[in-house]
């Protein structure tokens, strides 16, 4: 998946785009429909989400996010915009410099970490996993989310923290 994004970024490779589209567009459509969109709106949004992936491929940092995570954040923002008609305040941009190309070893380690997180979520008891899914589809209130615990986030968080520190350091 990371390689597909690179091909889009570096070569504007349409075959790579089609491969990504075939994997993610049906998932983004399902995600939006579970969040309350009808089929036509969900397809329209999925289309726009995938086009954003194409246009912003140069902003994807595989040492801090998996492709799935990146597509998720784009789809989530599209959902807030299209379904809830609200602005989405975003944090201040990180200072971004010439050393934007991350270290290959960091990328590999991070992508493995993401895979482990996926496996950990998949192996949670059904009830807990369903609650997490509901939270991300927007079916839980704040107080219901507050009761969520036990997500195995420690390792992936510290890895992202290190990547942020490196980025801040590179800017100084």
């Amino acid at each position: 998946m990371v390689a597909l994004i690179r091909r889009i970024r570096d070569e504007r490779d349409e075959d790579a785009f089609v491969a990504l589209f075939n994997h993610y567009a049906p998932r983004v459509k399902a995600f939006l429909m579970r969040s309350g969109a009808d089929s036509a709106l969900a397809e329209e949004c999925a289309q726009e989400v995938m086009a954003t992936v194409w246009h912003k491929a140069h902003l994807f940092d595989p040492s801090r996010a998996s492709v799935a995570t990146w597509v998720f954040t784009i789809a989530r923002n599209r959902k807030i915009d299209a379904l809830r008609k609200q602005r989405r305040p975003e944090p201040e941009d990180l200072p971004w410099g010439p050393e934007a190309e991350p270290d290959q070893a960091d990328v590999l380690e991070f992508q493995q970490e993401s895979k482990k997180l996926g496996q950990a979520i998949a192996s949670l008891p059904d009830k807990q996993r369903e609650l997490i899914e509901k939270a991300y589809f927007g079916d839980l209130s704040h107080s219901e989310i507050a009761e969520q615990t036990g997500l195995p986030l420690g390792t992936i968080k510290s890895r992202i923290r290190l990547a942020l520190d490196r980025l801040r350091h590179a800017m100084k």
């Binding site: 246009h55 799935a68 989405r88 991300y136 986030l153």
Partner: protein
């Protein structure tokens, strides 16, 4: 700058899943702008969202969907680079977006005793306002119905829950009865968000706290 008071897991997960009201999204984004610890924590919740998306059973899209996407990426209009967001040493970028780009543009209204406030334009399920509290002034207790978040952007305040300086966020539910006092060293500017709906009329003024009523 060491931030001691952080966002809760529930707020980060709510921001990540996109289920918070706009005013809460604003204060979360403002804290994230100042706190790499929470930024990393948020990214781990986004990673959960990514895995949820990955594990979603796919709903087939129509043939025209791919055609439409190809048209979008081949379209002649190149993406414009995102405009450079204004910067300010006090207000983080997401807050600047709500006040016209500069602290000088904030439309303060007096709330008495030198305290000023400015309500920010967000969706009505929750409300956000900037507070300006002169150094050393105590804000009379303003009991709230639901959850109230207060992020310090300049100066500091202290209350029964602790000492809060720039970047610190206080998460107070309705049980907390607090009497914040601004630190003597500098005037204090905070972003405060509450999930109680705005009430402009219809209810009797609550005599005990006429002060920050909005």
């Amino acid at each position: 700058m060491t931030i001691k008071h952080h966002l809760t897991d529930a707020l980060l997960m709510g921001y990540s899943s996109g289920s918070l009201p706009e005013a809460f999204n604003l204060i979360v984004a403002a804290h994230l702008s100042l706190c790499d610890e929470c930024r990393a924590h948020l990214a781990s919740f986004d990673a959960v969202g990514g895995e949820v998306l990955e594990g979603t059973s796919a709903t087939p899209v129509s043939d025209s969907c791919l055609d439409g996407a190809m048209a979008l990426i081949r379209g002649a209009t190149p993406v414009e680079p995102a405009p450079v967001r204004p910067r300010d040493k006090t207000l983080p970028a997401p807050v600047l977006d709500y006040v016209g780009g500069s602290l000088d543009n904030v439309k303060w209204r007096s709330a008495g005793m030198g305290v000023k406030q400015a309500i920010l334009p967000t969706s009505p399920e929750a409300s956000a306002r900037l507070l300006y509290i002169p150094a050393g002034v105590a804000v009379p207790d303003h009991g709230h119905n639901g959850l109230e978040l207060t992020l310090v952007l300049q100066g500091a305040f202290a209350d029964e829950e602790g000492y809060f300086a720039r970047g610190d966020i206080e998460v107070a539910d309705e049980e907390v009865e607090h009497l914040p006092v601004a630190d003597i060293s500098e005037d204090c500017i905070c972003l405060a968000v509450t999930d109680a709906p705005l009430r402009f009329k219809g209810l009797l003024p609550r005599l005990a706290q006429p002060f920050l009523k909005i």
